[in-house]
Symmetry: C2
Subunit: 453 residues, 2 copies
């Protein structure tokens, strides 16, 4: 018995995005850091198009997906849902394991699901360009792709150390026509300030974000784009879970457990919340599990408090799990999970017990990733290995207990651009980048005081 | 109007492979270099399983695809056929351009179509391992994947210069569980002989092939695998064209022109020959165009003669277009097209006028590749940019002539592992690696004499 692939016809690709805020009973208002009062619509509208402001604050359960976005989705969606029989066999488990594979998108991850949407709304609002920041390059690639497909120019500020060490992601963006700039740069005030203090500054996601925001303010024809965190971004990712729900109908099965990697939160929300919605509507019970790196344990060791989403403190305050906006995680290879904070909707789901959270170590994730690659033929992104580790743990528990549960894991992307990490793992030289109590405390101490919860 | 994707249901994935030899009226016998007489079945059976020997020499029109191979195909097949409306718009052409995209396979190219088949038959014949040689790594990755999926150990001899300069392809193979060895190595007689003469030898595909063959002879539990050239390999690739034929029915259209990149010949044969078969059976006329690099102009400047398939002269003699088995092409980035020879079936099609051939320059191909990436969102493999160049040329001719032809191009793989070439192209530092008359003459002079045609 081999694997089975479940795909949908084009007609069954979702026509709406789910608003995840609805499923967690709403989210706390976003606050102005100066006044600590809710930010105004006008203030939000200064950095995002009206349609996205509306989605961000909406209490509607669904938003219609614009035709042109859905047409572009159809180039690689539905993404396949696989029954991983070979992995089950390798684990000798009675569990039924499924994975939803987002790596079939042209840039190899789930990120274009929202990049296309943000490009569309920004173009509709009169923007002719898009700007964003990127660390390892996943988000920057998605912005570059979206710009190419919507005929918009794109500008990406890429953390300098990645810009220099990972030239291929940068070349990918440039091949799509993007202008990719190492951050800190001399092009923005905040970049220049950082360089004045330290000319060889290696860059950080926080600095790159500040540069992208300032670039958008100085060049109003560019719309600023967001790779994760905000509610509308999580909503756009709901196509993942909505498709999975329909694909489970084809499989005549239903997950007892849904496992996703937890970074900024949008992939996890997109995968899990459509199942949560069914459960809340009286459907079958389902355990939702967020898996985060032990090196950046936002949900398992962070606090729920109002904090900035960027390290420089330029953004408003969001109520969420946070390790403090000055927290600097060890340099684990799952760059997409190195966030001090997480989307409000995911934070709220964990706070209210709708979702569980665990933290796992880097080497244990790569062990699961290599097992997966050899069984399934797909090399997972380092971020995705966290979901695999979580699913493998559950499958092994099923074996111990002799229980045949159905497990769905979110395979958020492929690892073709991350093979240097596998090289280290296979050579036995991958560190576990343990998090010190001091680093954790330093981070938590940066939560704005007096602490608002 | 946006792109349209045509996909088949699992039931419509082909159940048989087409034998391309039938479509060109049979191919010339393979000769023993010592006796210049046809090689015996027994001699062939020393290096391949009985089922593949049978396919190699068969005059049956079709071979049944074994169930387990077809089940594995279904993990990523059918591969999509796209109507490239955005590319048409970018070219302002009345032509209708379609592309068949093989890059959705886990290793990013068409190679697994035959690697899975060869793994299956070798396992059936009692082999527990697979061995092969690889240059840039496409074939080695496919062998490693096939080994993982059929629970067979795999050994890949990788040309040393690529082994050192392209560590990620090597890591991909190792992640699948393969043992990847730099060639020349000290593990085989031919490797040791080469190293004795030149300890810092950078390796070549010919040397790696000799090592893989000798390794298989010394370790009979390993089956030797072939990435291109032989008839059975071309047959396995016919799933590409067979699917495309059915997808054109869905599109209610039919190609006037089919364009593919010409290297070893199997991708081109697999794409084009199912259309040739329909034409020969009285169907619609279709022009088949082979596009090869000007740096390695096998079909356009080679001779039709009996020659070896490897540089060391270990293989039997095949009647085909050849630049001479000692021909060393300039180091263009389309490594998969740097072959001195081409599959007999493709050679025969060109010889008899069933197929046309053109040679194009590297920079012109990357120009077309970047245009394609920005219009279609997919970065093509350097090999595939040759097919794109050929299709773009035809589409521009349609614009000049005001004729709306239908063009199908074979997008044999994605370029995610080849971004260094795009980096050079975008920086304007990609050479055109012109072929000297002397190098060409040196190659042609190595055709075994007296020359048999």
């Amino acid at each position: 018995m081999d694997n089975i692939k479940y795909e949908l016809t084009e007609a069954d690709i979702p026509h709406t995005w789910y608003n995840p805020a609805v499923d967690v009973g709403g989210i706390a208002p976003i606050l102005d850091p100066a006044t600590r009062q809710p930010v105004s619509l006008d203030a939000l509208a200064r950095s995002m198009p009206p349609a996205l402001v509306e989605q961000e604050l909406s209490s509607e359960p669904e938003f219609e997906i614009p035709g042109p976005v859905r047409q572009l989705y159809a180039q690689w969606r539905s993404t396949p849902l696989f029954r991983a029989r070979r992995l089950e066999k390798a684990l000798d488990t009675p569990a039924r394991i499924y994975y939803k594979f987002e790596g079939v998108a042209p840039t190899g991850s789930f990120k274009p699901n929202t990049a296309l949407a943000q490009a569309y709304y920004n173009k509709q609002a009169g923007k002719t360009g898009l700007v964003g920041e990127t660390g390892a390059g996943q988000w920057g690639s998605a912005v570059a792709l979206a710009g190419a497909l919507f005929d918009m120019k794109t500008k990406v500020f890429m953390v300098r150390v990645s810009f220099e060490q990972k030239p291929y992601r940068r070349t990918l963006m440039e091949t799509y026509g993007s202008i990719c700039t190492a951050s800190p740069s001399t092009e923005t005030e905040s970049g220049r300030a950082v360089l004045a203090e330290r000319p060889d500054h290696p860059g950080s996601l926080g600095v790159a974000k500040s540069e992208a925001l300032q670039f958008a303010m100085a060049n109003p024809e560019y719309g600023y784009t967001r790779g994760s965190g905000l509610n509308h971004v999580c909503a756009h990712q709901s196509v993942i879970g909505q498709e999975a729900v329909k694909q489970f109908e084809l499989a005549d099965d239903y997950p007892d457990i849904v496992v996703g990697a937890a970074g900024g939160g949008s992939n996890l929300a997109g995968l899990a919340f459509p199942f949560l919605r069914k459960k809340l509507a009286g459907g079958q019970d389902v355990r939702l599990i967020a898996v985060e790196p032990a090196a950046c344990p936002t949900l398992t060791r962070g606090r729920i408090a109002y904090d900035h989403a960027d390290s420089a403190g330029l953004t408003p305050l969001f109520r969420m799990h946070t390790l403090g906006h000055k927290f600097i995680p060890p340099a684990v290879h799952a760059g997409g999970l190195r966030a001090h904070n997480i989307a409000q909707v995911v934070s709220r789901a964990v706070e209210t017990g709708l979702m569980e959270a665990i933290a796992v170590r880097q080497n244990d994730c790569f062990e699961a990733g290599v097992l997966f690659a050899r069984a399934e033929g797909i090399v997972p992104a380092p971020e995705s290995t966290h979901a695999i580790r979580g699913a493998v743990n559950e499958a092994l528990r099923c074996r111990e207990e002799g229980v045949g549960k159905t497990i769905l894991l979110g395979l958020s992307g492929h690892g073709d651009f991350d093979l240097v990490a596998y090289q280290k793992y296979l050579a036995g030289t991958l560190s576990d980048d343990a998090l010190s109590d001091q680093a954790l405390q330093d981070g938590l101490d940066s939560i704005p005081s007096p602490v608002l919860v």
